[in-house]
């Protein structure tokens, strides 16, 4: 692209996976009947008070530590005021003056092998708002429904510095952060449930220019994919504005995912002054040395460390390790397999090639995979023992994904056991030689390639069950001696 360089900063909103909301004990569940996951507190009824959910706070603290933030030792909550019907108190409890963490960083591994550090301005905990639902058939009156199930759900906001310079960096950053949040077990980051959302702050400037261009803030971006589309749209739009001699207007936009475009918010929709002040209902949280140290010590192994360990401990290639650690659950699955049977390379191959494809086809997460680690171990052992061939193994894997049955029973039920009996195979081989004199002669004359065709015929006659390790020496014995 062009004479312009984008400057991108992100505000990432991750819904925490604590069992209950952040300031009351309503359940934190997605997708229930409207207004069924509410209580006087989350409805903001007069007289109710917030009390901080300790689990949600701990998860936020763990994330702040993992993002290498300076931890605010007396962190406090502030009220952010704006009027909107999905915000029951007309203020959101958030953190502005003393956010939980400041000045953190995330290291990116770019595709060219380079590393880049993205600075985190701050990380803070806040409550989510509800949702407005606009009925498709509102009748004669203009009507909107308010669903407050989401109101008060714990939301972690991670604000970057404007350090991202192109879409590739932006994508790698979002993927890396998503991986971390899942590694830390703080958020499920399920895009379809909106548990990972973004605000994209983007400006462009002529390449080589030091000062930033005019920033546009894009809200309402519900997934990594949408964030990339929104950024791309804005880069193109702003480029056109500048190229036609215009000036980019500083504004807040909404991303319309269906139309694939940003549109400026009406001035009424943009609060001019949030009137932040410390929430008198919530005392500051004081983080002691002991508490902080225990969080640091309990931090799970993160991607980079795990990748290095996989390479050294299991002797698998760096590329394989990279794929396996991309998701914590996947890495755990791999290690589960290795702990039951010592064939790391085989497991990594089966997972990377066959399993990930089947999961993707079925739109399943690894946690939902019918082929449990025990079943994959079973399968790999069957192949290693020569009970079934590698190709039959692939079919069995698909079968397990469909039926959920153990691989060995599928092999038994369907009679998929590899034929390794020399006597039985010899009959079939003699038949194949008789039926295909041409290729047989070629092989006899030293043309190794011809064995492929001959083996194919054997497989056809045995429904793929012939053990190639036994057939090949038999062909050689008959045709070359």
């Amino acid at each position: 692209m062009s004479r312009y360089e984008p400057v991108i900063g992100l505000e990432v909103h991750a819904e925490l996976n604590s069992n209950s909301k952040v300031f009351c004990d309503d359940p934190n569940i997605f997708g229930e009947e409207p207004n069924s996951q509410v209580s006087p507190i989350s409805l903001g009824l007069p007289g109710t008070l917030p009390v901080l959910n300790r689990v949600a706070f701990e998860k936020s603290l763990r994330t702040a530590v993992a993002l290498k933030c300076e931890i605010t030792r007396s962190t406090s909550f502030d009220r952010k005021h704006y009027y909107y019907p999905d915000l029951p108190k007309n203020y959101q409890i958030s953190q502005d003056y003393e956010p939980l963490g400041r000045n953190g960083s995330v290291e990116l591994h770019l595709k060219d092998g380079e590393k880049k550090t993205i600075r985190i301005n701050n990380i803070h905990l806040e409550e989510d708002a509800g949702k407005l639902v606009h009925p498709t058939d509102p009748g004669s009156r203009k009507l909107s429904w308010v669903d407050l199930n989401r109101a008060g759900m714990p939301l972690l906001e991670i604000v970057t510095e404007p350090d991202l310079r192109n879409l590739e960096e932006m994508e790698i950053f979002m993927q890396t952060l998503r991986g971390m949040l899942r590694y830390l077990d703080v958020s499920d980051c399920k895009m379809q449930e909106g548990s990972l959302r973004f605000e994209v702050n983007l400006s462009i400037r002529p390449v080589g220019e030091e000062t930033y261009g005019t920033k546009v803030e894009v809200k309402n971006v519900g997934s990594i994919k949408a964030a990339l589309r929104a950024a791309k749209f804005e880069i193109i739009r702003q480029t056109e504005v500048l190229d036609s001699g215009g000036e980019v207007v500083q504004q807040t936009c909404l991303w319309d995912d269906e139309k694939g475009e940003t549109r400026p918010m009406r001035s009424k929709e943009v609060a001019k002054d949030y009137r932040y002040f410390p929430d008198p209902d919530l005392p500051p949280v004081v983080i002691s040395d002991t508490w902080l140290i225990s969080v640091e010590n309990d931090l799970p192994e993160l991607q980079d460390a795990k990748k290095t360990r996989f390479v050294s401990q299991y002797g698998i290639p760096e590329y394989d390790a990279g794929v396996l650690v991309s998701d914590r659950a996947l890495a755990d699955y791999f290690e589960d397999c290795c702990s039951q049977h010592d064939s790391p390379k085989a497991f990594s191959n089966w997972i990377m090639v066959e399993l990930l494809r089947e999961l993707q086809n079925r739109e399943l997460e690894i946690e939902e995979c019918p082929l449990t680690s025990e079943y994959l171990v079973d399968l790999v052992k069957l192949v290693e023992a020569g009970t079934i061939s590698h190709n039959i193994g692939k079919e069995v894997l698909v079968d397990v994904m469909d039926s959920g049955k153990p691989p060995s029973s599928i092999v038994d039920e369907k009679g998929l056991k590899q034929e390794s009996d020399e006597g039985a195979l010899l009959d079939i081989i003699n038949q194949v030689i008789a039926e295909n004199p041409g290729p047989a002669e070629e092989f006899g004359n030293g043309k190794d390639k011809a064995i492929g065709f001959l083996m194919g015929q054997v497989m056809k006659k045995t429904q793929g069950k012939a053990n190639p390790g036994i057939c090949k020496p038999l062909f050689e014995k008959i045709l070359r001696t």
Partner: protein
């Protein structure tokens, strides 16, 4: 004076009277007096009788009952009562029926108290005379041409008139102590955090505190035993153990050091009030207290700081009244912004709107540092004044109010003069400590004068003990 609640409880325990008899005796008196003074927004005669019968049934069957079961009580109409309208004396909440009980309401229900009704107040607890109630004014039982004080106007008037003697109120800048002084009853504002605020409809969260009204200090101590303590639903409630305040009344005051802050005996103080309070101080000395002069140098800033802090918090706390989920809603709006604006224009009275506007201004960007942050800094200085004074003395004595009860309409045209009615009580809320107002004689027109004792944080035991012995010695 009728039976104190503690005395009545003994009769109930010994079955000398039944709870039903207590309520049947009270109801006609309550209804007649209430017609004269308008203490109640909502009366609950049927519910009260039903509850009394339940308690009598339990007592007859020998089931476990708390010592205070069967005592009637009134509840200020900003404490949420499940299934019973809780209006804050505002059009905004005229028909609001909470689906839950405030923690204090649950506590008094669990202890077997019988709620007679919900008492009138200045709208959203903003005011010192009941003249800001959206419904009607409450009259001072001592003189019906005069205000009862506020904002816990109905609670103070009901206690003074004995309909019934026990009441729950709330105090943000004097809303318990000032009307107690005006009406001639006892009112305690506990240490911030001693009583749970859960279910108290907030005016200013860092200042609001629930407390008891009664005719005797002993009854206040009894009610404090019931309502105090940590509440997991209120993050600002204190977890310190609750002493037995009734038991704490025993003994004498020998050697108790009481400070007299010179900044409270000033020009604006009515000479008759001053005279009565000085007599009160002599009584304290006569029962063994030692008095010394102390200084609270930042007293002058109290009112200003108070109105920055309380309006800022109020503007935020009252933002939720937009007509979306509960409360008044303007039904003919063009869009959502219009709905919220018109709902609020119709639902709030003038004083509430005035404070929301002031508070919004205080928190606005560009003014926040100069007003809100500076006010918070001075607030710390005011607290420091008290801390330093309490290193020298056990308690502090002051007049509760600069004047006795004023006439209706006297101050309604001048909000600032109304604000000054709380000049001696505001600082206690800013410092987060406790204060109690006890009757201390009358002026020449027969209007009650209140004496205020102020204690250090969590000093309720000392405060109640001194107030109790003062009341026994001084009378009234």
């Amino acid at each position: 004076m009728q039976d104190s609640a503690v005395a009545l409880a003994k009769k109930l325990q010994s079955k000398e009277v039944s709870a039903k008899e207590v309520v049947q005796d009270l109801l006609p008196r309550l209804e007649k007096t209430n017609e004269e003074i308008n203490a109640y927004v909502t009366l609950l005669p049927d519910e009260a009788l039903k509850q009394a019968e339940e308690i009598d049934g339990k007592r007859a069957r020998g089931e476990a009952l708390g010592p205070w079961a069967g005592l009637p009580i009134g509840v200020k109409d900003l404490l949420c009562t499940e299934g019973v309208k809780t209006t804050c004396s505002s059009k905004m909440l005229e028909n609001f029926v909470p689906p839950y009980d405030a923690t204090v309401v649950r506590k008094i229900k669990d202890a077997g108290f019988i709620i007679m009704g919900k008492t009138n107040m200045d709208e959203f607890a903003m005011g010192s005379s009941s003249e800001n109630s959206a419904f009607f004014t409450t009259k001072n039982p001592a003189d019906h041409t005069r205000v009862p004080g506020g904002s816990s106007a109905g609670a103070a008037a009901a206690s003074a008139a004995g309909i019934p003697v026990l009441n729950l109120g709330s105090d943000t800048g004097g809303s318990i102590r000032q009307p107690a002084a005006f009406c001639g009853c006892v009112g305690l504002k506990p240490t911030y955090g001693r009583v749970s605020r859960y279910g108290l409809i907030a005016f200013a969260s860092s200042l609001d505190q629930i407390g008891p009204f009664a005719q005797t200090v002993e009854d206040c101590a009894m009610l404090m035993n019931v309502i105090s303590g940590h509440d997991p639903m209120d993050g600002t409630s204190l977890s310190h153990p609750v002493p037995d305040y009734l038991k704490g009344l025993e003994g004498d005051l020998k050697g108790l050091k009481i400070g007299i802050p010179k900044e409270y005996f000033i020009e604006g103080l009515n000479a008759e009030v001053r005279g009565e309070v000085e007599k009160g101080i002599q009584t304290l000395e006569s029962i063994g207290c030692e008095t010394v002069e102390v200084s609270l140098p930042h007293t002058d800033y109290g009112i200003a700081v108070y109105y920055f802090v309380c309006t800022a918090e109020a503007s935020s706390n009252l933002a939720r009244y937009d007509g979306v989920v509960y409360g008044h809603r303007h039904m003919d709006a063009t869009d959502i912004v219009d709905m919220a604006a018109k709902t609020r224009a119709e639902g709030f009275g003038d004083e509430v709107k005035r404070r929301i506007m002031l508070g919004t201004y205080v928190l606005s960007s560009g003014f926040y540092d100069a007003y809100y942050l500076k006010a918070q800094r001075v607030r710390r200085l005011i607290k420091q004044d008290f801390d330093q004074a309490f290193q020298k003395v056990d308690l502090i004595v002051t007049p509760t109010t600069p004047t006795t009860a004023f006439k209706f309409g006297d101050k309604t045209d001048d909000p600032l003069s109304m604000y000054l009615a709380d000049v001696f009580t505001n600082s206690v809320n800013l410092a987060g400590i406790g204060g109690i107002s006890i009757p201390c004689g009358n002026d020449s027109q027969g209007l009650p004068v209140g004496l205020q004792l102020i204690g250090p944080a969590l000093g309720e035991e000392k405060l109640l003990k001194a107030a109790h012995h003062f009341q026994m010695a001084h009378g009234g």
